[in-house]
């Protein structure tokens, strides 16, 4: 028994040391470089700042270029909130009917879900469609794109969760004379709360971090998102590494906060969705 405990300590401590080098050093490097002055950050070293100027740096980053980073945060927040809201409502309704009803449309629906998970979107033809709808280079257009590309994953999660809700509940509501809409919105949807939270958290992180979709479908300075500003920042700030890493730090904070609060839901969503997919 004592030997086993010693082993637990030795292996654990070795693993912790390795994890510090492999996983913590890069994040510490971001924090340290973001706290340095321009000259101090120029040698790219992993050292303590001679002078801690993190808050000045944050202020500078937020003000650069007519406060483009600030506008980007507002845009990204709008994009994330609205597209995730659309995903949750539409995917919950679709996943619910997909589980409850037997219909030949289910084959089509399942095929769509599978295709949505596997098939890479065709870029230029999507731009062509958006353009003919007048949605290219608009935030609403990008919102619909993000919502569409995220639907498949959400539908899978909702379908498997709905199947765990007993049908007797539906039947009781039906006997009481509930309409289909009422049955869904006042009986089923409240019961879906755990999976709704999972979907919101996982997809919010995905949409917030999305780079390729804004790059293609929302180019230009007006509706810029955080990932795009981060990408453009390296050419605009010309080797002002402290500012670049301040921007990286700012963009890492929202997912970190999400992770600290919703750790369990994120883990559940990522493994459950994965097992189904």
């Amino acid at each position: 028994m004592r030997r086993e405990r010693r082993r637990a300590w030795v292996v654990g401590v070795v693993a912790i040391l390795a994890s510090v080098v492999v996983f913590l050093v890069p994040f510490l490097f971001i924090l340290l470089t973001a706290s340095k002055t321009v000259q101090d950050s120029a040698d790219l070293g992993f050292t303590l700042p001679k002078q801690w100027v993190l808050f000045q740096n944050i202020r500078t980053v937020l003000r650069t270029n007519d406060a483009v980073v600030l506008r980007a945060f507002i845009n990204s927040t709008t994009l994330t909130v609205v597209s995730v809201a659309i995903m949750v409502v539409l995917a919950a309704m679709a996943g619910y009917v997909l589980d409850r009803r037997r219909s030949r449309w289910n084959t089509v629906a399942n095929l769509f879900v599978l295709a949505g998970l596997i098939v890479p979107p065709a870029v230029v033809p999507t731009i062509w469609v958006l353009q003919s709808l007048g949605l290219f280079k608009t935030l609403p257009g990008l919102i619909l794109i993000e919502a569409t590309f995220g639907l498949s994953f959400c539908i899978l999660l909702f379908r498997s969760f709905v199947s765990s809700i007993p049908r007797e509940l539906d039947e009781a509501a039906i006997v009481d004379g509930a309409s289909p809409l009422r049955l869904f919105f006042s009986v089923i949807l409240p019961l879906l709360r755990p999976v709704v939270i999972t979907v919101i958290v996982v997809q919010a992180v995905n949409v917030f971090n999305s780079f390729q979709n804004p790059l293609y479908f929302l180019p230009g300075n007006a509706g810029v998102t955080v990932q795009l500003t981060l990408y453009n920042f390296q050419s605009q700030t010309l080797n002002q590494w402290n500012l670049l890493f301040t921007d990286i730090l700012l963009i890492t904070i929202p997912p970190l906060v999400m992770y600290l609060i919703f750790n369990r839901q994120i883990v559940a969503g990522m493994t459950a969705g994965a097992v189904k997919g």
Partner: protein, 305 residues
């Protein structure tokens, strides 16, 4: 035959789930909005891509040119190498994540100190912006001043030009991809390992099996669903991969770390929309050719069990 039946007839024909009334309480119009989004923004562009890939397509006009775009894609080494790199990238990231994921899973389900901390720290990079990770590692891997090479120099080793050596760039990016994504693989394997009943191990231990024998004959076979998931997920992700490559090398030096997704973007930027779309069709075919057979194979194995 089937198409002549109305939905309500189909329902009465299936005895497994009897319906209380003829009109369903689960209306099909719940599908309407998601279906609309799917069709307009996903299905239509996908089908249209097959046509546009056969055209010379600029902002102003489309001219049908048959298979010329594909001929160009497969004859120009700069474009074709993107296909090879995509394949290498997907297979290597997927394979490494499976092996490392299982090892880390075993480590993090065994009794060791600091398990909770280790699980969190390995998983966190999954949630961080890929662009942020890419730019950070681009600096860490700087050939002269980067932390990695200055640390190696302190140990007396001269580090290579991780992202500037044409033979190495693609593999350095693969390494960073694994660093960022191994957390999700580990998590899936942990979920799989926790689900294996302890009795199997107890029985094996009474029979005098070694730890290695238990790993090979109990853990690995029962981890098959988790392994399948990790392989499929990381292959799909790896084949589409763009953000990390674009943040770290933009496909360079030269074209040595270009993948199909970055070729598509470069051709789009250059205004060759038809060629760009042909790249999309090639990617579509590659993904289907790799994922569908695997999915069928895994499904059959699952049934056989």
């Amino acid at each position: 035959m089937v198409s002549t039946l109305t939905p309500s007839q189909v329902e009465t024909a299936s005895p497994a789930r009897p319906r209380p009334k003829r009109r369903s309480h689960y209306p099909l119009y719940f599908y309407a909005l998601p279906a609309l989004l799917f069709v307009v923004l996903f299905a239509v562009p996908t089908f249209a891509s097959f046509y546009f890939s056969l055209t010379r397509w600029t902002l102003f006009s489309t001219t049908f040119i048959g298979l010329d775009n594909f001929r160009q894609f497969f004859s120009e080494p700069n474009l074709f190498s993107g296909l090879t790199h995509t394949f290498i990238y997907a297979v290597l990231t997927s394979g490494t994540k499976v092996v490392l994921g299982i090892l880390l899973g075993v480590l993090l389900t065994s009794r060791i100190v600091g398990r909770g901390y280790l699980r969190s720290v390995i998983f966190f990079p999954v949630l961080v912006s890929t662009i942020g990770v890419g730019l950070t590692f681009k600096i860490l891997l700087d050939p002269f001043h980067g932390v990695v090479n200055t640390s190696l120099a302190a140990l007396g080793v001269q580090g290579p030009g991780w992202l500037t050596d044409p033979h190495l760039a693609l593999y350095s990016i693969i390494g960073v991809d694994v660093w960022k994504g191994v957390g999700i693989a580990t998590l899936i394997f942990i979920a799989g390992m926790v689900a294996i009943p302890q009795e199997y191990y107890e029985a094996a231990r009474t029979d005098g099996s070694s730890g290695w024998q238990m790993f090979v004959h109990i853990t690995l076979p029962l981890l098959r669903p988790a392994t399948t998931t990790v392989i499929l997920l990381s292959l799909i992700g790896g084949l589409r991969s763009f953000d990390l490559i674009w943040a770290m090398t933009k496909g360079g030096p030269g074209f040595t770390s270009d993948v199909i997704a970055s070729v598509i973007y470069k051709q789009y930027q250059a205004g060759f929309y038809g060629l760009s779309t042909a790249g999309n069709v090639v990617l579509f075919l590659l993904v289907t050719a790799i994922i569908l057979p695997l999915q069928l194979l895994f499904n059959r194995q699952g049934l056989a069990k």
